[in-house]
């Protein structure tokens, strides 16, 4: 299923920050589509993100992001026709520090089955995880991410109005943060789709940060649909606000394994 391959893994930059705490984000930059991985299948993805122009100073004990290379392995297992569980391993590499383990997250997800014939795709994921204080002062975080998407002919639209909560760290008292993401793309050919992805962190939902302190990123991105088994995404991100890394290059390579169950179907 094509969009299982394009957008199934996905989403956001974990706990990008708040108004007061600085964190390294940009580990897994993708907008979720509503589909889940099919039952008995596994999707393995490698997210590679390089910050070409980012934070150059240590802030609150957190490593700078400038010239950081983040590699994230994401393994998602389809449970049934409407649910999956994803697991993340985050790593970071910077000059002088080598490859560092950053943390792990787990992300169950459920969706509205196709058989309900809703006019849009809808799913909800929740993500819980730990990251080392060296990379984020908020070490335990939780996120809930509603996902709505729609494919219309050659056009694709997705929106992820995610809500985040810090369980352990300086942002515990900030309440719920709002970190929406969205995407639209156009199918130029069967194999090549191109579009724009948007990621943001507005800070606390009850106390929206000033534009200066918001994180805003725009990624012109392409998806290559070269095979049902492979997912390839590439983009270059621009961060126009002071609180955002200014240039990020991201790539995703994913491989689906159905363990032979679809042969002859």
């Amino acid at each position: 299923m094509k969009y299982l391959l394009l957008t199934v893994a996905a989403a956001g930059m974990f706990v990008l920050s708040s108004q007061t705490a600085h964190a390294q984000g940009n580990y897994e930059i993708q907008v979720y589509g509503a589909d889940t991985v099919p039952p008995h299948s596994t999707m393995v993805e490698l997210h590679s993100n390089y910050t070409a122009d980012g934070q150059k100073r240590f802030i609150d004990g957190v490593d700078p992001t400038n010239h950081a290379e983040h590699e994230t392995v994401e393994i998602t297992q389809g449970i049934n026709g409407w649910s999956e569980v994803g697991f993340y391993i985050f790593t970071s590499e910077q000059s002088g520090t080598g490859v560092q383990w950053v943390g792990d997250h787990i992300r169950p997800r459920v969706r509205v089955p196709d058989s309900w014939r809703w006019p849009v795709g809808v799913s909800v994921s929740t993500e819980v995880g730990y990251q080392r204080a060296l990379f984020s002062p908020d070490t335990w975080t939780w996120e809930i991410r509603p996902i709505v998407d729609k494919t219309l002919g050659r056009w694709y639209f997705a929106v992820n109005p995610a809500l985040e909560r810090t369980w352990h760290g300086p942002d515990v008292n900030l309440g719920i943060g709002f970190s929406p993401a969205a995407k639209f793309s156009y199918d130029f050919t069967r194999q090549i789709s191109g579009g724009l992805e948007y990621y943001a962190d507005y800070g606390s939902i009850t106390n929206i940060a000033s534009l200066h302190n918001q994180q805003q990123q725009f990624f012109p991105a392409i998806d290559l649909n070269v095979s049902p088994k492979w997912e390839i995404n590439f983009g270059v991100g621009i961060g126009p606000t002071a609180a955002t890394d200014h240039w990020i290059i991201k790539g995703i390579v994913g491989r689906r394994f159905d363990w032979g169950r679809n042969k002859g179907q």
């Binding site: 050659r154 069967r190 049902p228």
Partner: protein, 449 residues
């Protein structure tokens, strides 16, 4: 020249096609028809927990089994109680274009609320069927997504084989919806499936006795899905494909039927027990495609088929020697798709063009035409030729002969050759029997000169 109607796009049943006139003047009691078919809406119970609203024939799913005799003319009155034009196609019958039941050939549609009669002489014998031939496009309540189908059994002089009882099984898929597919375009998936209109466990069991020979007549009336049928512990001796006797009655563990294909097969009941006769793939059984076969004096939980290899080869039912006939004309037919977006159905083409722009295939009466079905696409296609049967000549390069069909699955990336002797003049429709493919241009008209 093709008729004007044949050049029009394929509507979902609107008034673009010619319609029958004098809708109510034909119901004369002086000359009663042999059969009457009423097309209407109904609520149907697939299971106690699942009801659907659809359209069907005579208030039942499938429609009544029509038994007729080869060579004896039959008159059928059709009442269309729907609020849209309809048409009934007599699938597998070698009859004139104007009664065949395809607008593209010139058969008139039955107006909304109207009545018409068709008279034809059934030929050939065997298991055939009748069904709506309207387009659906993105309205998944229309066309073969509905319940408008039934079996037509044409009794012939040839006995189909010794048997103790006959069973008729009609496969269908329900509650369709669009999903994204591996090939990048949308496809249709289903939430429910039935045999004879009932989900597994919700129909009376088929009662058999040890030692009986049961003749199963199976029709796949699904709009788009091929189906694999198995009966644990038993084999099927295939005696006919698409109603035509096969040269070699091979025994097989599993039957494959593409949309519109029919198989007649004898099962010798030699393993007492209670079984599920149903889809070999669990996902389809789980949504209802199966029925219970119960031996006399047997009780217990029905056994379903274990993991079984999905393998089918038409050639095993053919003559071992290749056809000795040389074709007079070779007709290449290449099936390709045109990408319309990940959120759309693909557009299908025959020799580079979609219907109604497809070039007509010219037939010469009495000539042997070798149809070369070349499918470089990534989808299998159950292609169907109206009003004729063709003889399979080669499948993926392997020669065969003696298998006469009107539907053949041309698997993705393969070529099938079939010989057609043009012996039934008149406009003749050729198309993929997947509803979503035929609606998306996979059609061509064969014309006699």
């Amino acid at each position: 020249m093709a008729s004007a109607s044949a050049l029009l796009p394929r509507p979902s049943g609107a008034a673009a096609w010619p319609q029958a006139t004098s809708p109510n003047s034909l119901s004369s009691p002086i000359n009663p028809p042999d059969f009457t078919i009423e097309i209407g809406e109904l609520e149907w119970e697939l299971s106690p927990k699942k009801k659907i609203r659809t359209s069907a024939y005579d208030g039942q799913i499938p429609g009544r089994l029509l038994r007729v005799t080869e060579g004896n003319a039959v008159t059928i009155e059709i009442l269309n109680k729907l609020d849209r034009p309809e048409i009934v196609h007599w699938h597998g019958q070698w009859i004139p274009s104007d009664v065949d039941g395809a607008m593209e050939e010139g058969s008139p549609m039955i107006p909304a609320g109207g009545t018409t009669r068709v008279t034809f002489t059934p030929k050939p014998s065997g298991l055939h069927w009748y069904h709506t031939h309207t387009a659906a496009h993105r309205d998944l309540k229309l066309g073969l997504y509905s319940g408008q189908f039934g079996m037509l059994l044409v009794e012939g002089r040839d006995h189909p084989g010794n048997y103790d009882q006959e069973q008729f099984l009609v496969l269908h898929d329900w509650e369709p919806y669009f999903v994204n597919s591996d090939d990048g375009s949308q496809m249709v998936n289903y939430a429910a499936a039935t045999i004879n209109g009932r989900m597994l466990g919700h129909a009376d069991p088929i009662q058999v006795k040890a030692g009986q020979r049961v003749l199963f007549h199976v029709l796949n009336a699904s709009a788009t899905e091929p189906h694999w049928l198995s009966l644990p512990g038993h084999q099927f001796q295939v005696i006919a494909l698409d109603g035509r006797p096969v040269p070699t009655r091979a025994n097989v563990d599993i039957l494959r039927l593409g949309p519109a294909e029919r198989i007649s097969a004898i099962v010798i009941m030699n393993t007492p027990g209670v079984y599920i006769l149903g889809e070999a793939r669990g996902a389809f059984r789980d949504v209802g495609m199966g029925t219970i076969v119960e031996y006399a004096n047997s009780v217990g939980k029905p056994q379903s088929v274990p993991e079984i290899r999905l393998r089918w080869d038409y050639g095993q039912f053919g003559d071992s020697s290749p056809s000795s006939y040389k074709p007079d004309v070779t007709v290449p037919l290449i099936f390709t798709s045109h990408f319309e977006g990940h959120g759309a159905l693909a557009r299908w083409r025959i020799n580079g063009k979609s219907f109604p722009e497809t070039d007509p295939v010219i037939l010469h009466e009495g000539f042997r035409h070798r149809l070369v079905f070349n499918n470089p696409s990534t989808d299998d296609h159950p292609v169907h030729l109206h009003r004729h049967a063709f003889e399979l000549v080669s499948i993926r390069g392997a020669a065969t002969s003696g298998i006469r069909k009107d539907v053949v699955i041309v698997e993705a990336g393969s070529t099938v050759e079939a010989d057609l002797v043009a012996d039934n003049p008149g406009n003749t429709l050729f198309h993929c029997h997947q509803q979503d493919h035929m609606d998306a241009g996979f059609m061509a008209l064969f014309r006699y000169v």
